[in-house]
Assembly symmetry: C2
Homo-oligomer: 464 residues x 2
């Protein structure tokens, strides 16, 4: 016999049941609606890719990739994100110059401690003028979280600005990405810890402190741009200057789209992945719009950026892209907490309520339960699109059938005599009111009129 512990799902994964799936699907539908409004077309890729496709795309995170065992076929790995598979597809589709695509899928990362990564949903543009698609993505973020009623701030930064800062601070070119990875931890760890990591990575005390003095700044977009422009030392760096020019363009677009008040320019935002080349962003929760604050701590619930070189890395053609990914599991955690506060129900509800319960009553030993007759009626109702149920017993007792119909709005009642006359009884079920229940015998209708009568009754209960 297997132990119960051995009958679990693998670490970091879970089963989804009933209401939880419905909530997850609601979230996905809300996001898709916004993406399709912006011209998004759906896209799907395999759960595993050739290992070579994923190689050298993720920097230090590459060690977290799940590989498939060598069983004599191609060397494959589970997808680590949805960006690289999309870039792989774009790299050979020379007929596609511009596409907005979205994808709903799980990604797999061997994190320690293992956490559930859930589904992501991403959205991309192809070749377009700088900052225009970037601004549209930020507008999409605003629309999605308005629709989900989650108050958010979008932290922005730009890889060109960040790399420029590191240059000015004295970080050597070969250390820029690894310093970037360390700095990205500032949202979870204090500066002292990050500083220690920078020293371990070979930075001098002086350089580390200069990095620290820059990356701990954040604030309103226009104001931060002004502060950085007025810094004489930074003004000498061409790369940083290019990044700031982009940010100014972006600021004007965000003001036009009325989303400027949703963003903050945060120099500590670095994003771990290697492939970003320009604007990067992460969405954090600031308040739960139902007024119940503080919301659960879930980290960033959406993130993305511009990756202009990734498609070109496959050697066939360059194609600038911007992308965005929603952390569906984290959004689920937020909204599930909100739902639970409201309903206080225990566990996922597995039962889907039927609209009609089909019963059979009869007297004595001669009564055979009318099973096939109940089936015949069920089939008629199913064919008419009605959710109908009946007892799976051959001769169910009356009380059993009453209990099973608890909460179902309409009953169809079969009796031997009525059937012989080509009739059935259709009755509204009055929840919790035994007296009404017993007095109300329902209505005799001819078998041919059954479906119409049931639909009429259902419509009247719905309008109560």
């Amino acid at each position: 016999m297997a132990t119960k512990a051995s009958l679990k799902t693998p670490k970091g994964t879970r089963d989804w049941v009933g209401q939880n799936v419905h909530l997850r699907d609601d979230i996905l539908r809300t996001i898709t609606t916004v993406l399709e409004r912006h011209g998004g077309t759906p896209f799907d890729t395999p759960v595993f890719e050739l290992r070579s496709i994923l190689a050298e795309k993720y920097g230090e995170e590459s060690r977290l990739i799940y590989n498939l065992e060598d069983q004599g076929g191609e060397a494959c790995s589970l997808r680590y994100d949805l960006t690289v598979p999309f870039a792989r597809w774009l790299s050979t589709r020379s007929d596609v110059q511009h596409v907005k695509r979205y994808q709903v899928a799980n990604v797999y990362r061997r994190d320690q401690p293992v956490i559930s990564r859930g589904r992501l949903r991403e959205f991309y543009h192809g070749h377009l003028r700088p900052m225009i698609p970037d601004a549209e993505i930020l507008c999409i973020i605003a629309e999605v979280f308005e629709a989900l009623k989650i108050g958010v701030t979008v932290k922005l930064n730009d890889r060109k600005v960040l790399d420029g800062l590191f240059e000015v601070a004295g970080v050597s070119t070969d250390k820029v990405r690894t310093v970037s990875s360390a700095v990205d931890k500032l949202d979870k760890a204090p500066w002292d810890e990050v500083r220690k990591e920078l020293l371990e990575k070979g930075l001098s005390d002086e350089v580390a402190d200069r990095v620290g003095s820059y990356v701990q700044r954040s604030g309103e977009l226009r104001e931060m741009i002004k502060r950085l422009e007025s810094d004489a030392e930074l003004a000498t760096n061409a790369r940083l200057g290019g990044g700031l020019a982009d940010m100014k363009l972006l600021a004007s677009y965000l003001e036009a789209m009325d989303v400027a008040d949703k963003v903050s320019f945060d120099l500590s935002l670095a994003r771990g992945l290697d492939y970003y080349t320009g604007l990067i962003y992460e969405v954090v929760v600031v308040e739960d719009n139902d007024g119940q604050s503080p919301p659960p701590q879930v980290g960033s619930i959406a993130a993305g950026g511009r990756y202009d070189d990734l498609v070109g890395m496959y050697g066939w053609r360059p194609l600038p892209c911007v992308g965005l990914s929603f952390g569906i599991d984290r959004i689920f955690t937020l909204l599930d907490a909100r739902r639970k506060k409201k309903q206080k129900s225990g566990g996922p509800d597995l039962r889907v309520q039927a609209e009609v319960y089909i019963m059979a009553f009869g007297d004595g030993d001669g009564f055979d339960g009318l099973l096939t007759e109940r089936m015949r009626v069920a089939r008629q109702l199913w064919s008419a699109g009605v959710r109908a149920e009946f007892s799976a017993k051959v001769r169910p007792k009356p009380q059993e059938q009453f209990n099973a119909s608890d909460g179902v709005p309409v009953a169809v009642i079969l009796g031997q005599e009525e059937l012989e006359a080509g009739q059935v009884r259709v009755k509204r079920l009055h929840v919790g009111d035994r007296n009404v229940q017993v007095k109300d015998k329902g209505q005799l209708v001819p078998m041919e009129g059954l479906v119409a009568e049931v639909k009429k009754l259902l419509a009247s209960t719905a309008s109560d």
Copy 2:
């Protein structure tokens, strides 16, 4: 530079784009609607399971399981079907006595030649009286393929009948499952080939021929039951007798549910998997209901059966189950062929048609393209749920904007003068009619009335 060949998806997998995803989603939605009508609740499990969960569940097919590489964590494998993960879940949920669940998910099999297995969707019952849920599953099959307009036959058999036949034919108990696997190939291979395999598996010529004389029979359900009952030799086998009694019960239920004419009792149907214990079925296409026959050869498009012992194999509690799985990829292939016959379009359409195209016109060098004004209008329309687009150029040419708006029903036109007066032009686009197009200057509306006017125009074009 990577070769183009190295930029493909792994063998047996594919990318899904645009219209193809929409068609697949339509199929899934059609099936879900039927399943929810029958009380189905959605369910989802991880893409990989602990390897021990999958062990000894699939007989000879076990060698087709994909394993994850040992990277220092738990030993895991990709799910091979959706039945075993569900049984794993049920085995420890002692609070669940009866559940109808469905799951939409991919499964992974290392077949040679590798073929795409796509998504499956399954539906299960828990503890219920024999043949009642089985009959409901067959009714669900009928409803689903009626809704999809695909003409089908459901091939039925029963493991007890089949095992009984093998016993009477002289197959030793230890060879029953392997003989069963060989016989199951009769839908693709001629009897001579299957016979050869049986001899290789150690059957004598005589036993093989007796097996052959039985399993090549098929026909209408009641008629086949009668034929088998009247066979004096078979009548002596208790197991076969039990199976036939079940089949008679099933026949009466199917007649009541008006699906008896959809089924055929086929003694060659064996199903490869170890875990079936009673009724088994496979759905094959007989005609494409649009009258275009013959349909593409796709093999069985749905299949399932009763597995009363699988949950108990985990050692915690027994729970009889019946299940059904739809081969979504194969159904997709059928319906995609039908769609292509109708529309003769080339390749998947990546573009989602906008409802409104926002243009800007102006004269001479002083015209700045009104980009942020176009963005402001776009944001208003997006917030109102309207699919709106604009050129991602700073100063787009008139002709470029006309070309980009091809097929879009409504244009919003911005001009410097109108904007200064707080106005924009809203215009219906007349596809392909240049003269009407040039004459119709559209309508000047105040900026505040823009959204309402656009919605009015969209409603009027929709009703054309």
